[in-house]
């Protein structure tokens, strides 16, 4: 049996609900209306889907899609197919191709901010710290909080000379 959505009266109803409370009632909705009614919440996109989407959007620009990682042998095309990289070295091997995808997937972010493993050494710790401070400085200036900006600037100088 096929139903037309009771809400929009257009699309085919694919979501069928039987309420038992407060009284027995049947509802037949299309997916879009069911989502609007809050009956179903679509998982939106899985992370892989989001990535695939970015990859597709960028596909016209990507050139050397036969780029291959010398360490694990994965090609960029294989990555485009399943959204998974082959080894840590891929981030270097495909850097030019990956950078725009990563930037889009992370709302324009280009650098890591946050924890740095002790093994990465003090230089890496310092770099991550400086990056965070520079961003804080930009934010403070944007918000015209000059007192804070001055403090952050001093912190940056201190860290740079350390």
């Amino acid at each position: 049996m096929s139903f037309v959505c009771q809400r929009c009266n257009e699309a085919k109803a694919t979501v069928h609900i039987t309420d038992t409370v407060p009284q027995k009632r049947e509802q037949h909705l299309c997916e879009a209306c069911a989502e609007k009614e809050g009956v179903i919440v679509k998982p939106h996109h899985t992370t892989n889907e989001i990535l695939q989407q970015f990859i597709k959007q960028k596909a016209g620009v990507s050139v050397s899609d036969d780029a291959t990682c010398p360490k694990c042998g994965l090609t960029f095309r294989e990555f485009q197919l399943n959204g998974q990289l082959g080894c840590p070295n891929d981030y270097d091997a495909f850097k030019a191709l990956l950078a725009p995808l990563i930037e889009r997937a992370h709302m324009g972010a280009t650098h890591h901010v946050g924890k740095v493993p002790a093994a990465a050494g003090p230089a890496a710790q310092k770099q991550a710290g400086l990056f965070r401070l520079r961003r804080a400085l930009e934010e403070a200036i944007e918000k015209e909080n000059y007192e804070r900006a001055a403090r952050v600037r001093d912190q940056i100088r201190e860290m740079e000379s350390a």
Partner: protein
């Protein structure tokens, strides 16, 4: 401790305690880590996989990261045991259903679950009842430090921690909170809240994460971006902005339902109780749907036949794998629904 001991309790995240636990069922943080000198799992050979498993498992079991718990070889575990782990939120569905050398180290109190060879070589997870992100971060950060003394994690100065999927690169952190939002659902405000969350680049999902439906009005909110924000910034945005806001909306919606249509609300609650204590056959999804108004009813002081601890026990023990474990045998779908209804009637008769 064995998996069998675990399945008889409700586990930490269902203790019903912690901040804002009238709305926040549980919180979780995970970190994605990979060994720097090994391929990611997509290109790893089966011997690579076994070696990764051994190296990571050794580091876990020989340090404070895993000493108080058990290491479960998921590849060797039978199907029911794997399902039990999924229902207890200790491993993902993908991990349970995957292939090849893989495992999970679970702490005795179940606040920690370290998955080996899931999508990344290591996924450090911590989970607790209520909104307890600071405590989780403290714990998980320490575990990460401890393991980093033994394992060389793939890290790049620009990109941060390197992960198999570039959507996790950077901190590799995912913060998730499980929210119970029955009133926002009833007042139809839920979609507005979900949209606002998505605008903030948060994922809104069902209880079991990626690709799962919402059952029992339980919504999981989690961050999607991992680059450009420190772990603390992500955690603070959840604990100080996002979660308190949604909790405020849900509480207001509950209050408004209690004020404007108390009879309707009580009717929903008590009808649900009627179904649970009288059904002769009931599915897992219907059970979850019926437990939802009861959970809200207990917190609003409108239902007092049993407490949250009992509700959470029913919530977990009526799920398919737990039910079969308690019944002591594997059951087909239909048979399972009958056994579930019997189990509920018995437990509810004890409490009334």
């Amino acid at each position: 401790m064995t998996l069998d001991d675990l399945s008889r309790t409700t586990g930490e995240w269902l203790r019903g305690v912690g901040q804002m636990s009238d709305v926040v069922l549980s919180s979780r943080i995970r970190l994605a880590r990979n060994l720097s000198d090994r391929p990611f799992l997509t290109t790893a050979s089966s011997s690579d996989r076994t070696e990764i498993y051994r190296a990571v498992a050794d580091a876990i079991t020989s340090t404070s990261a895993g000493q108080d718990g058990i290491l479960i070889d998921v590849d060797e575990a039978d199907v029911l045991d794997r399902e039990i782990l999924v229902e207890r939120h200790l491993v993902s569905r993908q991990h349970a259903g995957g292939e090849g050398s893989r495992g999970v180290s679970v702490s005795a109190d179940e606040t920690r679950a370290l998955m080996i060879n899931e999508e990344d070589h290591l996924r450090i997870q911590a989970l607790r009842s209520g909104l307890e992100l600071d405590a989780l971060w403290e714990d998980i950060n320490q575990v990460d430090d401890t393991l980093a003394e033994r394992l060389n994690f793939a890290f790049d100065r620009q990109w941060g921690y390197l992960t198999a999927c570039p959507t996790n690169v950077g901190t590799g952190i995912r913060v998730s909170v499980m929210l119970h939002l029955p009133a926002l659902k009833m007042t139809k405000e839920i979609e507005r809240v979900a949209r606002a969350a998505r605008d903030m680049r948060l994922a809104v999902r069902g209880m079991h994460g990626e690709g799962t439906d919402v059952v029992g009005d339980l919504y999981q909110l989690s961050n999607q971006t991992t680059l450009g924000k420190s772990e603390r910034e992500v955690i603070e945005s959840f604990s100080q902005v996002i979660v308190p806001k949604v909790v405020e909306y849900e509480r207001a919606a509950r209050e408004s339902l209690s004020q404007s249509t108390p009879e309707r609300l009580d009717d929903q609650i008590w009808r649900a109780y009627g179904v649970l204590s009288n059904a002769r056959s009931i599915s897992s999804d219907e059970t979850q749907a019926m437990l939802s108004p009861l959970r809200m009813g207990i917190h609003l002081g409108r239902f007092d036949r049993f407490d949250i601890a009992t509700l959470n026990e029913l919530f977990l023990h009526t799920q398919p794998a737990h039910l079969q474990r308690i019944a002591g045998k594997s059951l087909e779908d239909e048979q399972r629904d009958v056994v579930r209804a019997e189990f509920l009637r018995e437990r509810l008769a004890e409490t009334s």
